[in-house]
Amino acid sequence: MILSIFIGISIALFGFVLQTSIGGINRKIIGRLQKRHGPRWYQEFIDIFKLLSKRSVSHGWIFDFGVIMALGGIIATAMFMPLTSTFLAFENYDNFFIFVYLLAVGMLGMAMSASGSGNPWASIGVMRALTTMLAYEVPFLIVVLTIVNLSGNSSLTEIMLYQQAAGNNIFLIALPLGGIVGFIALMGMLGKKPFETYIAPAEIASGPMVEYGGKQLGMLFILHEITIFIEVSLFVHLFLGGATNIFEFLFKYFIVYTVANLISNVNGRFKIDQVVKFFYKWPLLMAVTQAIIAIYFGWVI
């Protein structure tokens, strides 16, 4: 048990280091895309340690406690994440719905803390974040339930093994419409550009993060990196067939995050009502079509 907890915390730490490095490399890639030199690849580490070294103000104990609760919730979520189809900390506890439940702790902690600051921009940002969540969860969950129906199990390891079994394609190919919906929902989860509405630095002054500075903002950055690790890993495991070894996982992870970032950087930003309308129009339609095709007609490539 203690060993499992130790491995789980190592996975969370690994996720933080991995996502922070890949985030830095991606900043360099985006720099090259815009004909710039770009920052150093370890710039994100410098940013986080700088924030932790600064002095900061508090806006009451809810403000401080919410950040710690969110960080703890996200680390607890990352502890359950399998890295490959054989390597995970807690055997039999890698159900998809565990991640759905535990991710909410982090989100709610951050919402509580941001509302505790009393800044109106923060309230608007939190409201937009929850609205975006409401928008992307519906099509994403329909696709995931289709996957659960096909593979007969909701455990991530079992879904991975189902895709890796001979004769089965990965779900991005087997369910092409569902794969596209999953990727669009992932962009919404990551807060990438067309769906960046709840951060929106030029519009609502970075939304929920408006009152954070110094140590609290540093903790929020760590939280953000681990959240991205969880969400991208979920996509890799659900749609790309997981990984048999760690290098395959790193490769797939890097590809998914980089493609999301590249798409993000050539797009503008939706308004919040456009986000909801978009997700409830095309992705929902595609997800329902995919579910009907796959479950009732049995047409799976």
């Binding site: 004909k35 920052p39 150093r40 410098i46 700088k50 070294s53 600064k54 900061s56 954070y212 110094g214």
Partner: protein, 192 residues
């Protein structure tokens, strides 16, 4: 041969350890400077070329930030009228420490072309401490970047300590601010 004579272990006292940690922190602070741009004057037009692909500020780890709480540098670009000075002081006091101030152009140094205008202050240094000046009307993107590199050197050599000066001479700064701005009587729905 190893001496068998007893030598006392070298102990670091607390100040020495604090100084070491502060130097480690200085490395991170000078390589990741986030800007809060207070663009009221015409020098702000020089910032887009120094941020985008021509001069690329991000390779030094710098970037624009949205709010005062997140930022490290308060970038004052150009002249300050009395109305904007009050907002500038509010903004400066909201920033988390260590905080630095960079003043662009000749207006914050001596008033520039507005030196005889009644609502414009002539020396920014009288009201908040300035760490780096970039002279010129208006300064090129090269000199803007050079000013930031100077600030990084200042952080490394511990000469960019305006925020400590502000704590130490708080009464003096407050007196100057009150002299020029006058007593503030706030009468709106937010401050009742």
């Amino acid at each position: 041969m190893i001496s068998t004579k007893y030598t006392e272990k070298k102990k670091f006292n607390k100040q020495e350890i604090d100084r070491k940690w502060w130097e480690v922190g200085d490395y991170f602070r000078r390589n990741s400077l986030w800007l809060l741009m207070y663009c009221t004057g015409c020098c702000a037009i020089e910032l887009p070329p120094s941020m985008t692909s021509a001069y690329d500020m991000e390779r030094l780890g710098m970037g624009p930030m949205a709010t005062p709480r997140q930022a490290d540098i308060l970038l004052v670009s150009g002249y300050l009228s009395l109305k904007t000075l009050r907002r500038l002081i509010y903004t400066y006091e909201q920033m988390s420490e260590p905080r630095y101030v960079v003043a662009l152009g000749s207006c914050p140094i001596n008033g520039g072309i507005y030196h005889d205008s009644h609502p414009v202050i002539n020396q920014l240094d009288q009201y908040i401490p300035v760490d780096t000046y970039v002279a010129g009307c208006m300064p090129n993107p090269e000199s803007v970047l050079n000013g930031f590199v100077d600030l990084m050197e200042g952080i490394k050599n511990k000469t960019a300590n305006g925020w400590k000066k502000y704590h130490k001479n708080y009464d003096w700064y407050k007196k100057n601010q009150f002299d020029v701005l006058g007593e503030v009587v706030i009468d709106d729905e937010f401050h009742q």
